[in-house]
Symmetry: C2
Subunit: 303 residues, 2 copies
């Protein structure tokens, strides 16, 4: 509850006035202007030792990741993020600097998307750092994009290169909010999600919800330099990293072939890539014309 | 994000269909019907060893407390709770039973108020249990009740007896959602909050936000049997427990004397009690006609 938000006065002094916020801290709840369309809600909790290693990466990057991961979920529905709340379990062993750095990181990302942090709950305890963010958003006039709308024949796109996010991208990514809105205005997005589990796994989620299959073009999947770097020592190919690593926080989505053609012609942002097509059933990877089964873990036997 | 909500299928099978939820689990966000009026948002995080002791109280009561504490904040604004999300950090040392019991407890309270759990994030880790709930609500047509609207001369009421919640009430309370709505319909609630820090502290919050003072009538403050029980061994009086213990999750609020008279005549629920009046400045306790300063901690020198 905002009344307990230790740093709220400090934060408030640094937060631009926001027309959507009708009541702020100092009350038991925040009160926001009601959204005009569907209200989107998502929540993600990050824990030290699981989602980040605080002593290695620093609190500011943890704050950034916590906010960005939530906004990425709003982006995945092609929504406009409107507000966020933040709950913290801060380790007793740290001082107030930890909270301040965390909030700076949370605000780095929230400010970039004009998202007010409207409330929270700041606690300290004997355990390790836990950061829980809930983000609210609003669907656009075209409605929220779900995972279940893909059809056989759809073209599959990804918003940017994949793999190797463990080398840093998983902390420092920019959620694809603007890109999702741009795409949603330009074409009919039939199914979309953000890549947190890995391309194969998240594409598989779309296939399961849409009751269809997919074939990925192994030569077309864009691969990061980080995936290539990891590959040198990991015993896995760069493509395997791109298919399975996860926490890329890019968007994978499907559109009709007509809309796909339009996207390739207009190319609304340079990292957009067509990476495959939907089929009736199964999850497949095609390389040099040869199609082989693709596990949702990203594993391909012959690579 | 709902897609990662391990128990969502299990939960969903036990959740009545809810007209406010337009999209459910299986997508990156939940999508809800937009509220007609101000959207209320609150969040509370509970941690093992701080807010409860899991090994002593069991997971079901922890789940109940986590949901009830959040709905109590919605009640404090006289709002209607509409949805909740739940994020969990589950200790590796426990099995799936812990999550199941937690969700049963969360649902015990959510169901009682027709609140759908629309999403969440279920994690396991090496640390202790952390439960973070975010509740959404909607203001009524009379608007949300804030803490800052009390005026000198207002009468101060409390929704029920106070003190000694550590003996069990802090886990098993019913959030005063229905009572708040009833009161809000009957009279103009000028300032209100729920009692989590303790009557003195929370009344002090109202005074600070309203820039006024308050005098409590020591003989009128309703006291629980638990406060009397604690008093036998604590070295503190039952009244001191009622003033300072906290986690009562009753409502303290102010109304005009006219509305106060109406409440005493109509008495919408039996535990309602008039406990004092607002004054220009200071926080005071009056016993047998003698007024003495009251610390926000609940401490009174002469008691």
């Amino acid at each position: 509850m905002p009344g307990e938000f230790e740093y709220i006065a400090w934060l408030r002094a640094r937060t631009p006035a926001h027309s959507r916020v009708r009541l702020g801290p100092g009350d038991d709840c925040a009160a926001l202007e009601p959204p005009a369309r569907e209200l989107l809600v998502t929540t993600d909790m990050l824990m030290d030792g699981t989602d980040f290693i605080l002593s290695e990466v620093g609190a500011r990057r943890v704050g950034r990741k916590a906010m960005a991961a939530n906004l990425s979920d709003i982006a995945a529905m092609a929504g406009v993020p409107t507000a966020a709340t933040v709950s913290l379990a801060l380790p007793n062993s740290h001082g107030a600097d930890l909270a301040r750095e965390l909030f700076l990181g949370l605000r780095d990302v929230a400010d970039a998307f004009n998202v007010p942090i409207v409330g929270g709950d700041t606690n300290s305890w004997a355990g390790s750092l836990v950061v829980s963010v809930t983000a609210l958003g609003e669907a656009t006039v075209r409605g929220p994009v779900r995972r279940g709308g893909a059809r056989p024949g759809d073209w599959i796109f990804v918003s940017g290169p994949l793999g190797g996010s463990i080398l840093g991208h998983h902390l420092d990514f920019t959620p694809r909010v603007a890109e999702a809105l741009q795409l949603h205005e330009l074409v009919e997005l039939r199914a979309m999600c953000d890549i947190s589990d890995g391309l194969s796994a998240d594409l598989n989620h779309i296939c399961e919800e849409s009751r269809c299959g997919a074939v990925l073009d192994g030569d077309a999947v864009p691969i990061t330099d980080a995936a290539r770097e990891l590959s040198r020592t990991s015993g896995r190919t760069p493509l395997q990293h791109a298919l399975g690593d996860g926490e890329d926080f890019e968007l994978v989505f499907t559109v009709s072939p007509e809309d796909g053609t339009k996207l390739l012609a207009r190319r609304p942002f340079p990292s957009l890539a067509k990476i495959g097509e939907c089929v009736e059933t199964g999850l497949w990877l095609e390389i040099n014309g040869t199609r082989q089964p693709l596990a949702p873990t990203g594993w391909v036997h012959s690579l």
